[in-house]
Each structure stands twice: as C-alpha cells, then as structure tokens.
Symmetry: C2
Subunit: 335 residues, 2 copies
C-alpha cells in the first residue's frame, strides 16, 4: 500500500439510513428485483419531452419517495449529494432542483451511489448536517445516445457490453437512530489496467474493485466470509469473473459470497442484456431494493457495497485513451 | 429561508491551508495576476496531443506544485476532491491519476473550487483524513469545442460572453497549523431565474451568488464590511452589476468591497475577453494567486470566497432548458 494516508474512514457516530427508494422502468420491473422497486415509470419518457428530462424525473421521484419513507421533508435535509452519467451531471441538477436543498454535485461514473453515500455519511457523522441525501440515476436512452449511438441507429452491441439501467436510487442518511447504519467507508483510487474497449466496462472496472476490496480486507484484517455479502456494482459477468481471478491471485476467494449489482438487476439471458446491467442507477437501485431490504429484514447483518465506475467520456474514448476506473466501498450494518 | 437545515457549516477544528498553486497559460500571464502564477505553460497544448490532455496537464502541474509548497507528498494526502467542466470530469480523472491518491469527483461547474475546498475542509475537520487536496481546472480550447464551436470555426462571441480561463488551481488542506484556515462554509442551492442564454452566464449566475451571500450574511448576522473582501467567481462585468442590483433590493451594498474573479484574471478591455473570465480554473487560479497570497501576506484577514457555477450542458442548452446556477461559499481567515 503506497499511500499511508489511504485509510478506512470509520464513522464513529453511526450515520443511520432512515429512508431509501428505487425507481425503475418496465425493463427493470421485468428483472428479478422488479417487485422491490418503489415506483415504475410506465414508459421510458416518464412523461417528459426528452430522455434527459426523463432521467431527471427518475431522480425527482426517487428522492421524493425516500423522503416520504424517512418521515423527513426536503426542509429537514441539510445537503443532497447527487451525480449521474450525463454531461455536466444535468440529470441531477434538474432532478433535485425543485427540492430546494443545498446541492453538492459528485461524480464517480457508475460508482456515484457509493461516493454520494460516503459524502452524506461523512457530513452527518462530522456533525455538519443532521440529515443528508444521496441520489443518482442513469437512463438507457440518454446514455446510449451520449456515449454510443442514437437509438434510431439500432447499433448492435457485443456480448461483453452491459445495459445501462433506467433507474434511480435515493438514500436518506441521518443522526436519528434506525436499524441500519454506515459503519465505515473506503475511498478508491483511480486504477488503469490498460483496457480501452468501451464495450467491455466490466474488464476495465474489475481491477478497481479488486484493488479497493483487497486493500479494505487487508487493512481491516478481515476475510470475505466475515461479511454476509460483498456487493460490487456493476461488473457484470465478464468483470465479476475477472474480479475473482484478480483476488485469487492474492489468495482471497470472493466466490462464495459475492454478488454483483449488474447481475442482480436483470435476467441476463431472458432479457438479453449482454454481460449485465450498468449505469449509476443500477447499483443505486439494487442498493435501494435488494441490499437495504435484506438488511432491514435482518437477513443480512453486515455487507460491503463496493460500487465501481469507469472514468471515460465519449471524447477520451475517441482519442484512444484507456478507461481508468474507480471503486468506492461502504460497510453497512444491521443493528 | 425555506430550508431550516440549510445552515452555515462551522469548522471547529480549523482546517488549515498549508499549500496552494496556480497554473495558467500565456493569456493568463498577460493578465493583471500574471506574475503571481506558480507556473505558466508555454503554449495551450502544454506539450500534450489534445486540449483535454492539456487540461489534465494543468491539474497535474498545479497539484504537484501545491504539494511541494505544502511540504507534503502524495502519500500524505488522504483524498483529493477534484472536478472540471469536461464531460464526465475527465480533466480531473487523467490529471490526478498518477498521484495515486484516493479520488472523490465533485461537480459544481465553475463553482467547483469552492465545492472541492469545502469537501476537503470537511474531511479534515471531521477527522476523516489528516490532509486533503482540492483541485480544478478549465481550458479555453477544450471548453469552446465542447460547449460552443470548434476553434477552427472562429465563432464570434457577444460582449456578454466570458472567456474560459486556461488555468488550474490546487489547495492542500490539513490539520497541521498554518497561517490561513477555513472557518466556515455555506453550500448553495440551485437557483433558476429563467436565463437561457448560454452566452450570458454572468446573468444566469448572479442570482445564485446573491442568494448564497445574502443568506450567509443574514444567518451570520454580519454585513459586507465585516469582511476585507467578498469574492465571487465568475460573474464578470454583467453578472457583477446584476449581483449589486439584487443585493441592493435587500438593502445590502456589496459595491465597496466586492471583487469578482472573472474581472481580476484578465484586463477585460486590453485582452478583449468580453465580460471577463470564467471556467473552473478562473476562480481556482485567482484563489491560488491574489486571494491566498494577500491572506498569507496579512493584507486580508477575513474574506469570503463565493464561487459560482452555471449548471448547463450543451444538450440542455440545445433543448432550450434554462440555466440553473449555484454558488458555494467559503470563509477564509488569516490568523
């Protein structure tokens, strides 16, 4: 470990998760977690005039439901940390504007849910605010045309490609006690393994996930089986296999209790989503359905949520740059 | 004030500014602050192959010099908060990757320096890290082609337009005592006054600056003259005048001790920059030259740094959306 300051952040005051919500589209409804979403938009426009506005609508809806479930109003929230994949994070700007909450934009590509949750937890734990929100989203249609091709072009994608989820997740963190809290966090470093194929994000992100998880386990002197589950998001099928390989090299076997958000959200074969799901909204909505629901029900007591992001833009991809990646980790505890 | 939780964040443990650096190009060198920049790149490519890489080079250089001046190495920094105007913040990703420091991406458009400095201060003040860095940049050439036209098109800009600075600023915040510290911060809300002219960012951002400054003064029960200077960045000529107007309506007169980073960085008339400078690198480099130098020299004892950001993308501008804006404020004290 080269950076001696790259330490686990322990939240001593227990920032609690007091509310959360996931919003998706019909595609997510048809997936294995479909029944756990709080709200499903009827069609991908979500009643808006363009895909970007539709994505903002997802965030608006998710934050609204999360606030309601937490028993808080927008006036109780000291800051909202939000970001998304759209250029200049406009999905978040327009998504949460109406709530009139101080807004701190964050960017971590598909790792944004973990990053915003870490920021919200730190601001509550540090006593800077009493409550904070963490929100993110992605939208298949806005992402496709921004990063790849207009939908009308009907571009074919290779099997290593992942489908950007049309979904949003919102979490309310507070100093008001609840059953679930954020025990610790670990901010990732940017990792570049020389992958430059924008249709194989799983391969680009797996080294970042391995780097963060291995260093976290080493520093906490814990083993994978000390946790009920270790979630990554979103490595998909290709990235998950690479993660196992990279960890096995360091004699760490994740295979028995690892799950990937990109593999949980869709039925990969039936729904023909290539290597799995992706997008900020993927790990965010899996966190706000499967993960937090199972923690709330007591089925999980201690999990790691390690969201991964591929830090590319259409411009850097066209310029032939590699795809550096990052993975931020959050440790969640059920009391 | 609708949001009762939108409070001043008081940093009780005095996060200190132990190092800072500004990097610019020949254009910034020719401006009134030219002599205060730590490093000037010979030409706008900064020796790189494209404008985006050049922008990353600015960040890399600024962070390197700031670290050196602070007496710290990359291994001493627990987290770097960085962001920029480029799609998916790639200027920061590629700019700071080599330093091997945990990376938290932030996005606040041209307000990013204030936002990243607030985050760095909060993480030091909360005891989550011993030292943190805040970095941002902008580049005239990468911004022009991304937001407006390719340079080769030689597009004419109206006099209300501002010139994106080719500059970067980096600040090292630490719990190790120094002469300057961050006393408090105030996170802004997104403000939309219905401005949709992407060539008049000053007008779009002035209401956000007014909103943040007026609410800060009200909550702290202070008056403009309680501070040696109140800096905004980057409202330019048009936005600064609007700011005065909006504040005078609330019986607050900023005219005698307000300065705008967009008006400080260039000689507006001689350098033909329209309404002034802009871009994340503008307020960042003015902070890391004029403001922090004068604080260090003891010429200023107490200043407010209120950086402003226009939260648009080329897509939302083309879709006819308004330009919502935000202003984040930092209070800096010379011991």
């Amino acid at each position: 470990m080269k950076n001696k300051e790259n330490k686990i952040i322990n939240f001593n005051n227990k920032p609690y998760i007091i509310g959360y919500a996931a919003v998706g589209s019909e595609y997510e409804k048809q997936g294995p977690l479909g029944g756990e979403f709080d709200y499903i938009v009827n069609d991908p426009t979500a009643g808006e005039e363009c895909w970007e506005q539709a994505e903002s609508r997802l965030q608006k809806t998710a934050l609204g439901i999360a606030l309601k479930k937490s028993g808080k109003s927008n006036e109780d929230i000291g800051v909202v940390f939000a970001g998304d994949l759209l250029n200049q994070c406009v999905g978040s700007t327009f998504g949460i504007m109406e709530y009139n909450i101080p807004f701190a934009g964050v960017y971590g590509a598909c790792s944004t849910m973990a990053l915003s949750l870490i920021m919200a937890s730190a601001f509550v734990d540090g006593g800077f605010v009493n409550s904070a929100a963490a929100v993110t989203s992605s939208h298949f249609c806005s992402a496709e045309r921004q990063f790849r091709f207009p939908l009308e072009y009907a571009g074919q994608r290779p099997p290593t490609a992942q489908r950007t989820a049309c979904a949003s997740g919102a979490v309310i963190v507070s100093n008001k006690p609840s059953e679930i809290y954020v025990k610790s966090a670990f901010l990732g470093k940017t990792v570049d393994y020389g992958i430059a194929d924008a249709n194989n994000m799983g391969a680009a992100m797996a080294p970042a996930a391995a780097d963060t998880i291995l260093r976290f386990l080493k520093e906490t002197e814990s083993a994978p089986l000390d946790y009920d589950k270790i979630f990554t998001g979103d490595l998909g099928q290709v990235g998950s296999e690479l993660l196992y390989e990279l960890c096995l090299k360091e004699k760490v076997d994740l295979r028995s209790n690892h799950l990937d958000c990109g593999l949980l959200i869709y039925d990969r074969v039936k729904q023909k989503v290539g290597a799995g799901g992706s997008g900020c909204g993927c790990s965010a909505s899996v966190l706000c359905t499967h993960i937090l629901n199972k923690l709330k029900a007591g089925e999980y007591k201690k999990v790691l949520f390690c969201a991964t992001g591929a830090l590319l833009s259409a411009t850097t991809a066209q310029q032939g740059e590699n795809i550096p990646s990052i993975a931020h980790l959050v440790e969640l505890i059920r009391i």
